[in-house]
Amino acid sequence: MITLKINGIDVAVEKGTTLLEAAKFYGINLPTLCHDDGLTPYGACRLCVVEIGTGDRTQLVSACTYPAEQGLVVRTHSRRVTDVRRMMIEMYLATCPSSKTIQDLASKWGVSRCRFEVKHEDCVLCGLCVRMCAQQMDGRAIGFVGRGKNRRITTPFDEKSDVCRLCGGCMYICPACQSRCQGPQERSPICNACVACEPPCLVPWDDMKCYMDPCVWCEQETKRKLLAESKVQE
């Protein structure tokens, strides 16, 4: 067994466990777009970033590909991590505002604006469908094609593949092709329907304060703050 510290608590996990699995096992949920329990880790979406190390020498790593190490100090919801994560969610919003998964992430993390040019892509290149096809369906019908900004997922020669059995596994697992809430929509990359919802964590603390998901403590703190502000205004 390997012992390490996640958000200040000592935890013990089997050798070979990734930080993401360890965090999940201890009830800390990290957002991901490219991870699935039945597929190999890929590290494409970077949303599962965590801060490792102590003092000034901390670094950000993707939890899904980083193996647990003896004595490692991990922080999953530090201010640095939260800032980076929210920035990435904002960029995902600009890439794919029509995805419910991404809209849900945005409202959960309190991303209320999108400062980038909206692209309306139908793919975030998370590679889930490619791994689903190869590892679970034993198909190998689709894959990454091209390079750089021309990289995309398709079948060879963009034709119907001989090895594709039309199982639909790729569509089942895709985080981008589930359309967003069909409420009254403004012309905005942020889904309107969730604007009224209060994000669970408005205040980025330096560390996670409680292990409820969503974190209740800070929500109450926020409410208390808002209440105090309104009283001052009165």
């Binding site: 190998r140 019908a141 894959g143 990454f144 094609v145 091209g146 079948t155 020669f157 593949s161 090895v163």
Partner: protein, 155 residues
């Protein structure tokens, strides 16, 4: 089939995929669909992986290339020394836009972002031969020489 000969040369091993594709590209001046299918079949690889490699590298092409490949460097150093004008001159003389092949499959005109020899810029690579300190005046000569070489081959 030629592709089989090439694959045999490399012992039909998967790790030589890129080498095999390079040889096919050399021979056919592009990667025909049948060749990619054959390579995938012989190496026991999924076709999509072979296709992924073939589309990843700019050295490979899925459409036929011209007999003469002209590559104009438009990197920073060459750009400030006027490679844009040279590219335009090539486009005019050859009659195709950058990235295209002439209809008679004589020329393919490409651009590249740096060749690593900025000291002799602007650089133009014609059939793997580097031509440094290029001027618009030399373009005509180069194109004519390529055309004549083709005529000699034909006769």
């Amino acid at each position: 089939m030629d592709v089989d000969k090439i694959i045999d040369k490399y012992g039909g091993k998967r790790r030589y995929l890129i080498a095999i594709l390079q040889d096919v590209q050399e021979e056919e001046r592009y990667l025909p669909k049948e060749a990619l299918c054959r390579v995938a079949e012989r190496l026991g690889m999924p076709l999509v992986d072979v296709f992924g490699v073939a589309t990843f590298y700019s050295a490979f092409s899925l459409v036929p290339r011209g007999r003469h490949e002209v590559t104009v460097c438009v990197g920073t150093a060459c750009h400030v020394r006027g490679s844009r004008r040279i590219l335009e001159e090539f486009e005019r003389r050859i009659g195709v836009r950058a990235g295209c092949t002439t209809e008679d499959l004589e020329f393919t005109l490409e651009t590249v972002n740096c060749l690593g020899c900025c000291a002799i810029g602007p650089v133009v690579v014609v059939d793997k031969a580097y031509n440094g300190e290029m001027t618009t005046g030399r373009v005509k000569g180069i194109v004519d020489r390529c055309r004549e070489a083709a005529k000699v081959e034909a006769s």
